[in-house]
Amino acid sequence: MPAVTETIETVQQATESGYKWGFETDIEMEFAPKGLNEDIVRFISAKKNEPEWLLEWRLRAFAAWKTMEEPRWAAVKYAPIDYQDSYYYAAPKQKVGPKSLDEVDPELLKTYAKLGIPLREQEILAGVEGAGSVPAEGRMPIAVDAVFDSVSVATSYKERLGKEGIIFCSISEAVQTHPELVRKYLGTVVPQGDNFFAALNSAVFTDGSFVYIPKGVRCPMELSTYFRINAKSTGQFERTLIVADEGSHVSYLEGCTAPMRDENQLHAAVVELVALDDATIKYSTVQNWYPGDAEGKGGIYNFVTKRGACRGARSKISWTQVETGSAITWKYPSCILQGEDSVGEFYSVAITNNYQQADTGTKMFHIGPRTRSTIVSKGISAGHGQNTYRGLVRIGAKAHGARNFTQCDSLLIGDLCGAHTVPYIENRCVSAKVEHEATTSRIAEDQLFYCRQRGLTQEEAVGLIVNGFCREVLKELPMEFAVEAQKLLQISLEGSVG
């Protein structure tokens, strides 16, 4: 059965309203002492057997972080975070760098099976080992890197990708095996001192994925990383670096879930993308961190810095995100459009239900001539949810003929939620063209009745209308993922009407 179908079924099997991925894996863990100081940074670096330059890099980040203040400009409210009351390293106890899945703790394998994430490579002939997971004919498999709390537990299809010269592995492994590439690009898009959360991440990041696509190579399958927070009182700080060399092409997916807990947990990731001449990176996220309960208790604080640099001429970076989870989302996937004729895209659906808060959007920096960007943002608020689109389009003096089109639509369900749009536009070039459109609407009673008269239940009707509202974004997702995202949207809104 193809990977994503399994995931979809996992979603479909979901019964009553609520979060379906909230179970906890009982597994022996290794923790660093609670709290954050230079010793912890050294501990993490030593655990990962890192070269001296990387330790120095982390320490510089930590020094910067200590001087910084948590940003307060976002339209989100939360109690102060005690950064000393959290674990910064938590890893399942297991052999270092298991050679094959057989060496991975069966509890972990079970966890991913339960989440519907395939770690086994589904070769046509390898239907053995009770996996029963032979892909349908002609169906492309997906290569997966699975990150559990602080470490990557498995990466599939490494060998097959290796034949094309593609590097897909955990970032800790890349530091060991491809230090020159990591050193060349790490922190060049999001510097250590970029912002409070990025600095924190740079000091204590534990794992994440590394991708390098060589010149002229079109990656033959979707690459994907699946993040899972499991341990209590633990933050997840992963770091992802994707480099697409000249003329290459890659599509990358990211998914994430966490157990249901009353406490809030911090997830502060950094994602850096680099696209050289004529390269294309498509980065898709289906974010489904635990959103907290119906009263707003618990849930993940998702404070993430994602940025891509279109360094080369005619390069393209496209962000697509479906944000259904997290108690708070603070996230602005951005594009630095340096190369001439480079293209940046941002397609976003953000749902806030119950007491969820989202402050999300994008930044498009037009530096090179004839750079183009498209922003399509769909915010859906239900319950007491608060949803803010915050975006910046900056056009530099040399970005002759640059173009931007922005569309921000908000959909309100019920009368206790809020939708806000905060677009910033800065233009220093007379030949540039910037367009902005925005709408706010409600699901009308007559739309619901129309659907119900045709036989749909109230919830099916809401799901259908919301999916229609998000269509322009969902169609940007890789096809199988889009189906999953649609189901997820419907589940996220269960109980929001009537």
């Binding site: 739309q447 129309y450 659907c451 036989g455 229609g468």
Partner: protein, 248 residues
């Protein structure tokens, strides 16, 4: 068959239906005519279960089901279809997706197998051909950017696909030119048979030239004040509602 007895209903505390008695036997098409404000649309909404219409007395049953006790979607699955006077737009929702979701929701509720995309398309194309509609309509958003006539034809297409046991057509003729009117009428006439009954609600007699009813009822002031054969519609057209009211 549809059986309504002593049905009273109000909106915001204001009585609109003041005791409706009506029977539409299986296989028959009945017309309900009446001036504006007589309660025609209210009757169609009460029967289909729209929120905001409070039933204060009486009963309504369809094939033995107490429909007033059912959710709107349950009434739909039981075979009740309402062709809307003002069909609603659903932006971004493809017409094909909507029709298939609706058809499968009803089939599921009735314990029948759902249709996959291919089976559905085949069926839809077949029905569209019979209604001289182009495939193009399936690709568009539900009623989005449709002309008034297209919206009404889309209602008829939905009816043809869902094959209801009882169709209520709420002023389906309003805003239609003569060609569109014929297509709508042909659609309804094609459905006629021993298992289909319809309640055609209209202000004008014109539609009834094309959909010839078995019975005509005149609704005024929330009551049915006169019933008769198809000739009653012509009488109304000639003399106006005032004459009926005076006689009633």
């Amino acid at each position: 068959m549809l059986k309504i007895e002593g049905l009273t209903a109000e909106i915001d505390g204001k009585a609109i239906l003041k005791g409706i008695d009506l029977e539409v036997p299986k296989g028959e098409v009945h017309a309900i005519m009446g001036p504006n404000g007589s309660g025609k649309s209210t009757l169609s909404y009460v029967l289909s279960g729209r929120d905001g219409y409070e039933v204060t007395g009486g009963t309504a049953s369809f094939n033995g089901h107490d429909i007033l006790a059912m959710e709107p979607e349950e009434r739909a699955a039981a075979g009740l279809f309402l062709a809307f006077q003002y069909p609603v737009e659903l932006p971004g929702v493809g017409n094909a997706t909507f029709l298939r979701t609706a058809l499968n929701a009803q089939r599921k509720a009735r314990g029948e197998a759902e249709l996959d995309a291919m089976q559905f398309l085949k069926l839809a194309r077949e029905r569209m051909k019979a209604l001289s509609m182009s495939d193009e309509m399936l690709k568009r958003g539900v009623n989005v950017g449709f002309s008034g006539g297209e919206k009404k034809r889309n209602e008829i297409l939905q009816m043809a696909l869902l094959k209801p046991g009882l169709a209520i057509l709420d002023e389906t003729d309003s805003g239609l030119d003569i060609d569109a009117l014929k297509i709508v009428a042909d659609g309804v006439n094609a459905m006629r048979g021993p298992d289909f009954s319809a309640l055609v609600i209209t202000h004008y007699q014109r539609l009834l030239d094309y959909i010839v009813p078995d019975r005509v009822h005149v609704l005024m002031g929330g009551r049915i004040v006169k019933s008769g054969g198809p000739e009653l519609a012509k009488e109304l057209e000639a003399q106006g509602y005032g004459a009926v009211q005076a006689a009633a």
